[in-house]
């Protein structure tokens, strides 16, 4: 028998008993819908969680810590190079903190605007671009400032929010401060006192000593400084951790510290090896899948690490379990639908016993008879799955519409499903889920039709013809 004939025969058989076919298909639709929707809720939740974690920072970043001087492995330029040489490490830099250095930034007429510089960090300037530093304005740090010596102009990167740290020394009370989102009387946003990209700035080194009477003796020295760029996201709603940081090239900062010590005649106890070590560093991994292995390799070197990935993994595992559970609940109704298909097929074989017998006597091959029944069951599954997925898309759209911020159900369902918030969709049906659902329904149909089809094949032609 030709395949086209098999198909047309199958379709004809299904159309002959429209009501029964439709009812059976309806069962599959309900089953498919419940499984698809349950899984889609799980996916929606996972996506919301992913979004939330991604908002917390870059998932491909690993922080490295080295505690204490007794640690076997110290974090220095040499170990840092070893880490950077690892496969999959895209970029990285240690953070160098010059201890006990008081720095200030002055600007405006008669040093009207001033700002304390705490925690300027030295970084590898050439790594910043690959680290994914976001610039709101200007450029990243040039490599170590070319001109050396006393009259050097230091380059600095400033976080977007740090700019608001400038205070007005002439003003009193609240008027001395500016902060992000501060409005004037007309409701307009107030800019910071200083535009570091345009206004002239001075870097001021301070040192205070106390004499025997406890009188403070304040000394200061000035040097040139330029802000090469403002760090932070251009989108005001996105959090960027660098908004609150200040960076200099690591060698510039070391140089500045030497100058500081020289200027104020500070003697420092050098460590035995006379080398600079870092407390922490940060690296960026090129592929999120490699984060785990690199994280482990660095731990094996003797360092402590922290990455968002390490909190993401257990959360994802939990999500997967939840999804499995939800899918299982949906699966029960598909199982009921499968029983429905089996029942329909058995009924239809009873009804068509005589017909099957005639077909056999007319020389229809057994394989063809089996195919006809299998295909009927398969088609019921296929169309049920197809319609089920279609309806699921509709329901999913409806759910998302209702739970959208301010929707009638947002409170109820939100809290019921863990309330991830974050503005993500409650239910997400990716293409693979739609495809898998149709396939699954078809396979269920075929499986349910398998035993009835074999039964049809076994019907004795003679008995069937006599069957009234």
């Amino acid at each position: 028998m030709r395949i086209s004939d098999l198909i047309s025969m199958t379709v004809k058989n299904l159309l002959r008993r429209k009501t029964r076919t439709l009812l059976t298909v309806a069962g599959v639709i309900v089953g498919t819908c419940s499984i698809v929707l349950m899984v889609s809720l799980g996916i929606g939740q996972t996506e919301a969680l992913e979004q939330n974690i991604a908002q917390m920072g870059d998932l491909t970043m690993i922080q490295i810590y080295s505690y204490g001087e007794n640690a076997e492995t110290v974090l220095n330029d040499e170990t840092m190079q070893r880490i950077l040489a690892m496969d999959g490490v895209q970029a990285g830099t240690p953070f160098y903190n010059a201890p006990n250095m008081e720095l200030k930034l002055f600007s405006g007429k008669k040093d009207r605007y001033q700002m304390q510089l705490w925690g300027v960090r030295g970084v590898y300037a050439d790594q910043l671009e690959n680290m994914g530093f976001n610039l709101a304005e200007g450029e990243l740090l040039p490599a170590q400032s070319t001109q050396g010596g006393k009259n050097k102009t230091y380059q600095m990167l400033m976080g977007k929010s740090m700019v608001y740290e400038f205070t007005d020394t002439k003003a009193k009370g609240q008027a001395a401060y500016r902060w992000e989102g501060m409005l004037d009387a007309n409701g307009n946003q107030l800019p910071p006192f200083v535009d570091p990209m345009k206004d002239e700035l001075t870097l001021v080194m301070e040192h205070t000593t106390y004499d025997e009477n406890g009188t403070a003796n304040r000394e200061e020295a000035r040097c040139e400084v330029e802000i090469s760029g403002i760090l932070g996201s251009k989108d005001p709603n996105t959090y960027d951790e660098n908004s609150y940081n200040l960076y200099m090239d690591i060698n510039d900062l070391k140089e500045l510290y030497e100058e500081y010590k020289e200027t104020f005649d500070i003697k420092e106890e050098k460590n035995k090896k006379n080398e600079v070590t870092y407390n922490n560093a940060k690296i960026k991994v090129s592929d999120i899948d490699m984060v785990e292995s690199i994280d482990k390799a660095i731990k094996d070197m003797g360092f402590e690490t922290y990455s968002l990935n390490s909190i993401r993994e257990p959360m994802m595992e939990q999500m997967q379990q939840q999804q499995l559970f939800l899918g299982g609940i949906g699966g029960i109704s598909l199982l009921v639908a499968a029983i429905g298909i089996s029942n329909t097929m058995v009924m239809s074989i009873y009804e068509r016993t005589r017909e099957i017998g005639i077909m056999k006597v007319l020389g229809c091959k057994l394989g063809n008879i089996r195919s006809v029944f299998l295909m009927e069951a398969g088609l019921i599954g296929f169309f049920g799955g197809l319609a089920g997925v279609g309806i699921s898309y509709g329901i999913s759209y409806g759910l998302n519409y209702l739970t959208m911020s301010g929707g009638a159900l947002s409170g109820v369902l939100g809290s019921m499903l863990g309330g991830m918030g974050g503005g993500g969709s409650l239910s997400v049906i990716p293409l693979w889920l739609a495809g898998a659902a149709v396939l699954f329904a078809t396979v269920i149909g075929l499986l349910s039709g398998f035993s009835p089809a074999n039964r049809a094949v076994k019907i004795s032609a003679l008995e069937a013809i006599k069957h009234e």
Partner: protein, 256 residues
Amino acid sequence: MAAIIKIENLRKVYPVGKERIVALNNISFDIEEGEICCILGTSGSGKSTLLNQLAGLEKPTKGSVTIGKTNISVLSETRLAKFRQKYIGFVFQSYNLLPAYTALENVAMPLMFRGVSKKKREQKAKELLKLVGLGKRLSHKPTQMSGGQQQRVGIARAFVSKQKIIFADEPTGNLDSKTTREVMELMVNLCRKYKETFVLVTHDRDLALYADRIITLADGEIIKDERNQSIARTEEQIAAEQTAMESKEESKNTEE
């Protein structure tokens, strides 16, 4: 002429409760190619059982049925289906048309099972339906036709794929005497035309008169095997026989 069906020591026993009923008791005979053979017997004589054995619908308890060179008593279900597809056509008492299909589709069905294309098989089916006088009822469903018309569709179906052997089990059992005559003449004519072997099973002595040979069965045994001398051949039949010779050559050519 060569024997196309060979029956050797055929025995069929049905267990009914604790008793064993012998339906066929060591029957042996041959049917020759192109022969119109009637198996005559009262109900319970074993004639239907015999037909079922001949057509391979039932396995014998003992003995064998050989069609052509194939012993069909030992064939598996799958092989039997193939064999029937190739060699055997059926006409039933209760017509056994598929109610969901039109006359045309019913007649074309054996060809569909063989994998003949829709266009070709419907053309052949149309031809046959015209031959049985139903050229204008192609798209009627069985329920929209009279018993005689339904049986003619059944006959067209049996002859459509030019089978070597046609079996008919009380083909006129549900028809009135006038229609019976028409249907019988039609079948005999077609058999002669296509030179096919025809095995008719009936209890009706009048029907047996259409056959070349009459085998009478009683209690599972052959009690009489006679040549029918009294066949009144009409002018028509003789003419049909002659054209059959020619058209068989033709149809052979077209089939190959």
